[in-house]
Subunit: 496 residues, 2 copies
């Protein structure tokens, strides 16, 4: 067998193990009975060890060593080899001992985080978090970096991402957004009280399935289940699953999680199944992944045209709450801007302050200019500064996100990057597709999906985020698109 | 670390991989979207390969080599080492090439079996089945045997099982049962037509959950889902899942699958979690496993005392069908004896003819006295001989079971062994537990469960089937218990 075929088989084997872990994790979040938790976490750890061994064994090293200088490969094959080699080099820097230590620290931190949330006290979590932070600082040294240690963490989620670039970008976000949000706060506020009435769970579930179908999510290559925290997971592009949360007294939960996770899922379902396990068969970065979820959730889902298509049915399904609410009233309610404590339920503008705060804290922890033990205070001060609100307790503050307990530092910035990429992609799609707006008004998003498939999904990792952005839109990531989108939309809603 | 601890860790790792495969398979039968089938089967194959490598690697061999002569081990530890060593020796006899060939043959055979069922033609399946049979004959040679080649296959499901013993046992089954069933056939038949009226699915599901709870199935260490073919699967004794099938026009399906799978699950939930992955933490054989499912399904579930406890509720839940049916009428209907084509829905007497036929055929195939191509004819002739019925087509005949397409030869006899063990165990339990019958009449089976936990479940593989049987009942497996049970029960129902 040729080296490239051997490499392909090896990568497919690695992908099979990754996907097995994903199935075990999906089950953990959806159907696992209470007492099964410990054994399950042990099973996942075992597979994670096998995954690391397989991905870094000498066979892999030899194959990639041979192939990285093979000039007979085509562009796609070369991309696969280059990315796999980078990944192999990164993975190989970690000893099995480090991987095991980290795995244990994460398991401990997750339990501590749960206990801290129960006790509503950051102090309970702080020591475990400190261990995680030390491991992450060690990671930066192990992986290495040229500009900033945090780059080594970013790279895992946003390949080639640069701290200095994100810092500059976020500074500009801060400058423009603070004033804009203040301006909105000065206007008469919109009424969204009807969103918090009682909405029957079964009917909400049914509506969610309808919305997923309508956007083109393939239920023969996926399914939706309930979980505490909504997520998307892929076991290969032919089995991409989403979960949602249905709150009886908050109509927002289900709608936005369906559209958001649906957007993620369309990306995964659009990856080329022939490249199963290979870089070109995988999402290029979390930033681009988030661009897909945000595009469907916000640029499409929170738009007036979208609800022109869907409001009549929604009203029919919930006449007890919506019969007397106009389309315009419904549209405004879902776009209400209001500083709040919890990131995941923030509006699409103040959302970015939540990210800025986390980014600044992560950077501070990695640089060593902030100490873990002070995080609750730092957190609360920043919420006061950026959002003008007093965090009432740790659960509503520094303990709200699971990410740090999972060891995921370097992840948060991709959420904002995603929104900004989404605005830029959607502007281009609107330009490229004649009458996109009126298609959406008809409930027809198939041309939009085709555009995304053609321009983004099919390439997998062939292009990095920045390369893809330039290729698709003709320029690098440009925050102006997001601001233009925000100014137009909220200018109308708040008559600025 | 001591060798025994290393061995323990290694076995736990092997168990983690086995259970990961079990999760992937469970999901495949319950929730997998249609298009995910190919990738899933590839993922399972990859894990199966890793499992085989891990279970037979040199570390395992070295550890077991050291430990098998370690005289400082206690009885349980010695048992673990002995069984693991036997298993290691058995597994190591197979080359990876053979394992891969077999894995591929099974995947092909499964597809061929599905196609053959669709075409209702055994000829479509015959060539693939022949490949399986050749591999199984090869297996007998690879594994080795002293008395009969089929012993090598039996051993996988019923350790130390002997073809010659089963042949003798089944001969006695045949002799006694043929006459007994004929006698029943000469009596006025019972009416069970009301079992085939329309039974609401949701209410059936609810009743099934009630029955599982009542028998002591722990829903915090398991769950029930729907699948095409009911089964029990374990991911460790803290997560043991059952599935059921609910037929709208056959009340039998749900009831018997719940009690049957519930019985299997109670065994798995009763294994010692401290011995996770070790032989003493695993079921001792499929025969004993089946004894637990049959005991709950038949000896408890199809008894008059059991329905004295549960019929009132059942009647209340389905008044439209059962209001005018007496307890005695219901009891008799569920015990109706009638020769039929399909094994899984056979009554508890004629069931064993289905097994005898399969055993004779498997033995014939392995001995080489029967040819795969003739199986449909052989099958039909035997059904005529043993059950007096004319098989109308292959789907109702030789194509009905999945087992051969899965490569599971040597499995069927354990079904009958299970029923016979069940009768013997239940007779002993009735002797040991004062007033067991009246406890069951009160809906209280907790003492029975404690008896099973104490006498059977807790030991795992510490004793073989035969050792366990002798320990618990004071004698080897004795078919007389089953016949005595049958004569008493059916003597009453059919006034013989």
């Amino acid at each position: 067998m040729k080296a490239y075929q051997q490499y392909q088989q090896k990568l497919q084997k690695v992908a099979d193990i990754e996907h097995a872990i994903a199935v075990l994790s999906w089950d953990q979040e959806t159907y696992l009975p209470a007492k099964g938790a410990n054994q399950r976490s042990q099973q996942i750890t075992t597979l994670a060890g096998i995954l690391h061994e397989t991905a870094t064994d000498t066979q892999m090293g030899d194959l990639l060593g041979t192939l990285k200088d093979d000039t007979s490969l085509n562009e796609w094959e070369r991309c696969n080899i280059t990315k796999s080699y980078d990944d192999y080099v990164r993975q190989s820097k970690f000893t099995t001992d480090f991987v095991m230590r980290q795995s244990k620290a994460i398991a401990d931190a997750y339990h501590a985080w749960m206990q801290a949330r129960e006790a509503n006290s950051f102090a309970v979590f702080a020591p475990s978090l400190d261990t995680i932070v030390q491991l992450k600082r060690e990671t930066c040294d192990i992986v290495g970096y040229t500009e900033h240690p945090y780059d080594a963490l970013l790279d895992e989620y946003e390949p080639k991402g640069r701290t200095v670039v994100i810092t500059r970008l976020f500074e500009s976000v801060r400058q423009q957004m603070v004033d804009f949000v203040r301006e909105i706060a000065g206007r008469p506020q919109v009424d969204d009280s009807f969103m918090y009435k009682h909405y029957n769970k079964d009917r909400q579930w049914q509506l969610g399935l309808n919305l997923l179908k309508q956007m083109g999510y393939d239920f023969e290559a996926g399914r939706q289940d309930l979980s505490t925290h909504p997520f998307t997971t892929s076991f290969g592009s032919q089995d991409v699953r989403v979960t949602t949360r249905v709150a009886e007294n908050d109509f927002n939960e289900m709608i936005w999680s369906c559209l958001h996770e649906g957007g993620h899922a369309l990306y995964e379902q659009g990856l080329n199944p022939n490249y199963y396990g290979l870089p070109t068969g995988k999402a290029t970065s979390l930033g681009i992944h988030e661009s897909q979820s945000r595009l469907w959730e916000n640029n499409v889902g929170r738009s007036l045209p979208y609800w022109k298509a869907n409001y009549a049915l929604t009203q029919q399904m919930f006449p007890e709450n919506l019969a007397s609410v106009s389309l315009d009233g419904f549209y405004k309610a879902m776009n209400k801007v209001q500083p709040s404590f919890i990131r995941t339920s923030a509006d699409e503008l103040t959302y970015h302050f939540h990210i800025l705060i986390r980014f600044e804290i992560e950077k501070g922890l990695i640089e060593g200019t902030m100490a873990t033990k002070d995080l609750a205070e730092i957190w609360n001060a920043k919420y006061k500064e950026y959002l003008g609100i007093d965090v009432p307790n740790d659960k509503m503050g520094v303990l709200q996100d699971i990410h740090w307990s999972h060891g995921s530092l370097g992840y948060f910035p991709t959420y904002s990057l995603g929104s900004f990429y989404a605005a830029q992609f959607f502007a281009k799609a609107t330009n490229d597709i004649p009458n996109l707006e009126s298609q959406i008004e008809q409930g027809n998003t198939s041309n939009l999906l085709t555009w995304l498939r053609t321009n983004i999904h099919q390439y997998g990792m062939l292009y990095t985020s920045e390369e893809l952005c330039e290729r698709v839109t003709g320029e690098p990531l440009n925050f102006d698109y997001f601001m233009a989108y925000a100014r137009q939309k909220y200018g109308h809603i708040y008559t600025l």
